[in-house]
Structure formats: C-alpha cells, structure tokens
Symmetry: C2
C-alpha cells in the first residue's frame, strides 16, 4: 500500500460523482476533499479488520473492496462489494470508534480515505456536507435492506436475474451487459457460493440468458422480469 499526494483526473471525476458529494458546491466539495488522502492498494490488501479503531472512512476510486464479517468458526460472509464511486464506513462519523466489519481490497484498488476527526469538525461548520453524507447513508441503508429482503425471499436464479435486469443496457426487447468484476465477486455480492452462481446462470439459459466469460446477453427482458 502506498500513498500519492494527488488525484489523477479520472479519479477526481469518480470522487466528484460519489453519493456523499452530491449537491455540494465547489467550496464544500473542496473542503471535504481536503480531508482525504489517496491510497493505492496491493491486491488483497487488508484495509482494516473488524474491531480496529476507526480513523478513516473511504471512497473507492477504482478497483473493488470487499466488506465482510467473521464468525467464531472460520466462516466469513461478505456484506457488500464496493465499486468505484461507493463509500464505506461513513456510518462511523457519528457513532462509535471501531470498525464493525473488515475491509479488503481486490485488484489494485485506488481509494480516497477521509480522516474522520477532520470531517467531524468540518460538519460543524458546513451543515450541507452533513446533509450530503446523510443522503449517502440513507441510500446505503435502503440498499442493504433490499439486499436483506432478497436474501430472505428470493432464490439464487431470481437474485441473479434481478442483478442482470438492474445492470444491463436495454436495446429494444434484448439487453446486454459486461460484468465489471470476476464471477466469484458477483457470487459473494449476492451471498452465494461460486458454484451456486454458476448453476443459477445455467438455470437462466432457458430464459434467454447467454453467458460467455464476462459478457452476458438477454434475449427477452420481459421473460426475465417475471422472475
């Protein structure tokens, strides 16, 4: 892991579009950026472990980050896969002092990390930043609740179909997409074993879903929508 003093232009653009930056004016965004440093991660680098003292919250600029929890046994579960533009651990700005899950970079992730005590001070001066972060927290909460509901209610093929429908680009009745990460990450994201994802894909073949590597085509969206 390494640090660079500056953003490149692509990274800056990703950061600017992050949820917790939405609606901020130039000064506010700049003030928030001033709390951050850039972090280059080695593949599989551990950012922090559950229980570590919280000093930063993060925004993914490129690559992916896994958030996960451990069990007493060796078992572990992924809670969320963070993609470029996603932030995590902002929930610690106003709560307690320790991370409640572990975070691990995939690929060679690039992150912006924001020093929490600095951000806290900033929020007192600039309430609108608090509003933006609140919005981001709300969106996380909603998507986590949706994830929980789908875990409890939907079968593996249904969850996969839902992912495809919410991430594809439509083109008349057909649609297509390219997975932004390897299938084992998608499996973790959906709370499945890699084998189960594989089987879900083959179950969806009969519904007009074709998978070749990371490229996926859907021959009829309406068929897929009826789960």
């Amino acid at each position: 892991m390494n640090r660079t003093p500056t953003f490149d232009s692509h990274e800056a653009a990703v950061l600017a579009k992050a949820d917790f930056m939405a609606g901020l004016d130039h000064d506010e965004a700049e003030a928030l950026r001033a709390c951050a440093t850039i972090l280059l991660c080695d593949p599989h680098a551990v950012l922090f472990e559950e229980g570590d003292k919280a000093a930063y919250f993060y925004c993914v600029l490129s690559g992916y980050v896994r958030l996960h929890r451990h069990n007493g046994d060796g078992r572990q579960a992924d809670i969320r896969i963070c993609e470029p533009g996603d932030s995590f651990a902002e929930c610690l700005i106003h709560t307690d002092e320790t991370y409640r899950y572990g975070a691990q970079a995939m690929d060679r992730a690039v992150l912006a990390r924001f020093r929490i005590p600095k951000v806290r001070l900033l929020l007192d001066e600039r309430p609108r930043i608090g509003k933006a972060i609140m919005r981001s927290l709300s969106l996380h909460l909603i998507s986590t609740m949706e994830c929980l509901a789908s875990d409890r209610m939907q079968t593996a093929p249904q969850r996969v179909a839902n992912y495809l429908l919410t991430h594809c680009v439509e083109n008349g009745a057909t649609a297509s997409l390219r997975l932004p990460f390897p299938k084992n990450l998608l499996a973790r994201k959906l709370g499945l074993a890699p084998e189960a994802l594989s089987r879900a894909f083959s179950a969806l073949k009969t519904k007009g879903v074709t998978v070749r590597g990371r490229a996926i085509t859907i021959s009829d969206i309406t068929v897929l929508r009826q789960i």
Copy 2:
C-alpha cells in the same frame, strides 16, 4: 387508526430516549416533537405499503411494527421488527419520495409520526438535529449489516443464541430474559419460519437453554457463547 393530540408521560419518555433524539437539548427536542402527531393503531393496521408516497417517518412508542417487502409471487420477507424507541423511514428525509417497504402494526401500537417536509425545514435551521438523525441512520445501517451477515453465515440455533446473549440479563454464570413479543415475531425478526425457531430452541436445550412460554433461562452463558 386514530389520533390523539397529546402524549402520555410514558410515551413521552420512550420518545425522548429514541436514537434520533439523543444529544439534543430541550429546545431542539421540542422543535422536533412539534413535527409529530400521535397515532393509535388497530392490531394489524397497515401504516403504508411499498411504493406509497412518503409523507412521514415514524417512531414506535408502544407495541411493534413489522417492516416487510413483497415478491412478485405471494412471498414476503420481514426486514425489521421495530420495538418501542425504534424509528423507521427516516432514510426518506433526504432521499426519494416513496416508501421502499411496507409497514404493519402489531398489537395496538402507538406511534409518533413526523411530517417529513416539516422536518426538512427544521434541519436547515438546526443542524444539530441532522446530526442526531444521522447517528440514528448510522446505527440502523450497522445493525442491518450485522443482520445480513448473520443471515449469510449463521445457522438458526446460532442466530437464536446470539439473540439470547444480546438481550438477556446476566446473573453470574446464568442469565435469563423474557421475550417482549410472541415467538412468531421473533422468528420473523431472525428471518426464520416459526417452526425453525421452535427447533432451534429445542436444539439449544442441550446447551442449557430452558424455554417456558416467553420466559427463558440460560444455565451457562459461556457455553452459549461458543455458539
């Protein structure tokens, strides 16, 4: 469903201890309360459905509220069981306009409901209230993430053991608790069918857990902790 113009003293105390009121001074708390009206619910009253236009967020004062989502089929899953002191739907203050899940009262619930547009205006004047709500949102997010992790990682007896350990009152090596609601609600809360909860309890008998009605005793906490 009916409305009363005023709080009784017990209800006022519950409201004052809600997460989103924490840390507020008297004026701030009073200003927030002024956005609320009281709601008396009939058993099983539906507060709102998924997709309804959001006008209020709520705080449970007595009784319980189920938050749930529906599937295309008749299936439905509970996302959260809200107890007295819990708030829900605050995530809509700064996001979109519709409820993302349905809410149904159990028992004869009593709720405070806060008119969202009013609260929005208040937040602009009083940033510290925003901070309090943000803290509450953060706590919800964390607990929802923990719930997701335990769904993905723990078996039914493990989840039940965890619930018991986090809700019991210890007394040396032993502990006990009284369930605040019927077992079928606990089952929903843990994402289980009632039968599965029943079986989980009988599996825990060998670990020193005794269940009689809603009264539960634990003969050795340490045994239960090793899941």
